[in-house]
């Protein structure tokens, strides 16, 4: 038996991560079907549909990440950008 000298933290082992994903997916499914047990009234009709929160949340995030990514093409600059463009910092210190 050759054990690795130092095992990494249990939280980052592949088996743990697999279990975390399974648990996470189970919770996701549960939250959607919880709506069958406790029907949400919704303020505007549409937000009372089954899984509205889930779909809306997911799509909102997708949209925001894509918009950020798109804007990033125009707005992102090298991290030294302003050091090169600002006035020379005073050198008396």
């Amino acid at each position: 038996m050759t054990e690795p000298v130092e095992k990494d933290h249990w939280l980052v082992r592949p088996t743990t991560i697999r279990w975390l994903w399974l648990g996470f997916i189970a919770v996701l499914i549960l939250t959607v079907f919880a709506q069958l047990l406790f029907p949400a009234k919704g303020y505007f009709g549409v937000d009372g549909w089954l899984g509205f929160g889930a779909v809306f949340g997911f799509l909102a995030c997708l949209a925001m990440v894509l918009v950020a990514k798109g804007l990033g093409l125009f707005l992102k600059r090298d991290q030294d950008y302003y050091q090169r463009h600002d006035a020379e910092p005073p050198t008396d210190d």
Partner: protein, 566 residues
């Protein structure tokens, strides 16, 4: 004058004492002054309790109301916890500046008239600039100057508005108004600059992350939330604020998603959270104003908690970029857990303070049948979880293993974080205890099962989106341009260009003048002799024979005689 001790003066005295005192005495002042202030805050009854005559004005330096006490309470609590967090690590000048800054914020809370409000407003601008400068780096110094310019400019605009209102209405009272004319627009603009509203939101993410790890904790609390209080007092129900707030909400998310620096992510999310409050003030119903005040209270706690958590990481590792960090949960469990509590609270997870306060704002939008506003706020709640709720703890404490194994937080920093983490959970689990302190009677039940299920779906599926979209969110060594590019680069370039143009013009004129003088001297010399040579000489510099000269004299005298006779 008054039988009540002004709370702001207690804290200001504390700030003055921090400098000269040393050792345990200083620690005692740092911890006791905010508590004494808190006590004094709760001695102020409703209504105007002090008046002073200044010039022709009735100044009201102390006016109490539940709303004012609520904000003053959280400012005092924040100062205490910030002091606890910082007193062993921060320099005395930073602590003193931060306490004077907090005193300004508490002064604004109880200001009964526009003149007092303006004075404390400027006190905040001055001492918050000092706190930024205490970052101690050339970058902090430059950011502090930009910060000061922005806030002094905001102060001037506010002052112009106040003068206008005083001249045109004759009243210096703080009372609800709407932005209908030039004066009120100026006041609104001046306040919104402090709230980091567009188009100048950039000052916040520019300055706060340059302060020291302890300084940014103080900075995160006061300026923007004082602006929210001023908006509640002066502009409740101002419709333009709904749009401004929604813009801030989305701006904060997008920029935080693009950002690599952990504290800058948190700074952008301040703009995002203040956007929720500004939007609520715009809705303007009792439910909305309660929501704005409650959310400001809760926000100060969890945002300071997040900055404390990031501050410990920077204090221990000296690094603040997501690309350099990761995997710190192994050796910093306390900091990681407190950071996660703060992150859950800012995302508005059920059982945290964010849920019991932010949903009031959504409820207010739903009550007014503002469906677009409601849905945008819901989308923004999902976005908050994405950019702050998961992104911050994930990239700092988990993600890849950066190989860093720093020690956990020093005891005082851990105690401060523990206190605020507990408050996040307390307000989340026992909201009714907290609701009693809100300005209007609360008729709101946050934990309706349908609502909890909705928010759980919203947030957990945002979490799913985060992990599925991780490849799209790879951190890069970049910053993102903002409107401050206009003055940091474009205006600078324009000024440099104008300067270069003027220098070129000056140099050109100088050369031209030299050429012109040389030519003049040359012509003069040619005509009058100095530079004349035997071969090349002007009429007057030639050598004339006596006969020709005599002839010319005769001709000229004849001409003279003729002219005289005629």
């Amino acid at each position: 004058m008054t039988e009540f001790l002004p709370p702001a003066l207690i804290l200001l005295t504390g700030a003055l004492l921090i400098g000269p005192l040393r050792g345990h005495w200083r620690t005692a002042v740092v911890l006791a002054a905010p508590l004494a202030t808190l006590w004094a805050v709760w001695q102020i009854p409703d209504g105007v309790v002090a008046t002073v005559t200044f010039l022709d004005y009735q100044i009201e330096p102390l006016e109490g109301s539940p709303l004012r006490r609520l904000f003053a309470t959280i400012f005092a609590l924040m100062t205490f916890t910030g002091g606890l967090y910082a007193f062993r690590q921060a320099r005395a000048v930073e602590l003193a500046a931060a306490y004077a800054y907090a005193a300004g914020a508490i002064g604004v809370c109880f200001a009964g008239d526009l003149i007092t409000m303006f004075l404390y407003w400027e006190l905040m601008a001055l001492f918050s600039t000092l706190v930024v400068w205490c970052g101690g780096t050339p970058a902090a110094r430059a950011a502090g100057i930009r910060y000061a310019i922005m806030h002094l400019l905001g102060g001037v605009i506010l002052k112009v508005g106040i003068e206008g209102v005083v001249v045109h209405t004759g009243s210096i009272d703080i009372q609800p108004m709407l932005a209908t004319d030039f004066d009120t627009w100026m006041i609104l603009t001046g306040i919104l600059i402090n709230a980091a509203a567009p188009p100048v939101s950039a000052w916040l993410a520019d300055a706060y992350p340059e302060a020291s790890p302890t300084g940014s904790v103080f900075l995160s609390a006061f300026t923007t939330k004082t602006a929210v209080l001023a908006l509640i007092l002066l502009f409740p129900g101002e419709p333009v604020l709904i749009g401004v707030g929604l813009f801030m909400v989305m701006y904060g998310i997008i920029y935080a998603l693009l950002e690599n620096d952990a504290r800058r992510i948190l700074a952008y999310s301040i703009v995002n959270q203040v956007g929720f409050m500004v939007c609520a003030v715009g809705i303007g119903t009792q439910m909305a104003l309660n929501g704005a005040a409650a959310h400001a209270f809760a926000h100060i706690i969890y945002k300071a908690l997040l900055f404390m958590s990031a501050g410990v990481v920077i204090y221990r590792t000296g690094k603040s970029k997501c690309t350099d960090l990761g995997g710190l949960f192994r050796t910093m469990p306390v900091t990681a857990v407190c950071g996660i509590v703060g992150a859950l609270a800012i995302s508005g997870f059920p059982m945290t303070s964010g849920f019991t306060t932010k949903t009031m704002i959504s409820q207010a939008a739903a009550d007014e049948s503002l469906m677009t506003v409601y849905l945008l706020l819901a989308a923004a709640s999902a976005g908050v979880f994405l950019h702050a709720g998961i992104k911050f703890p994930w990239f700092v404490f988990f993600q890849k293993d950066s190989g860093l194994r720093p020690k956990d937080a020093p005891w005082n920093m851990a105690a401060a974080m523990g206190l605020f983490a507990a408050l996040c959970l307390l307000i989340g689990i026992f909201p009714d205890v907290f609701y009693r302190f809100l300005p209007y009677t609360v008729d709101y039940e946050p934990y309706k099962i349908g609502k909890v299920v909705f928010y759980l779906q919203l947030l957990l599926f945002s979490g799913l989106a985060f992990f599925l979209l991780l490849p799209l969110m790879r951190r890069t060594l970049t910053i993102s341009l903002d409107t401050d590019w206009l003055w940091r680069v474009m205006l600078y370039r324009a000024a440099t260009a104008v300067q270069a143009g003027l220098s070129a013009l000056g140099a050109g004129l100088h050369t031209r003048r030299l050429q012109w003088f040389a030519a003049l001297r040359d012509r003069g010399g040619y005509h009058f002799g100095a530079l004349a040579t035997r071969k090349r000489a002007g009429v007057f510099s030639r050598t004339w024979s006596i006969g020709t000269t005599g002839l010319w004299i005769a001709v000229l005298l004849t001409a003279y005689l003729l002219v005289y006779v005629i």
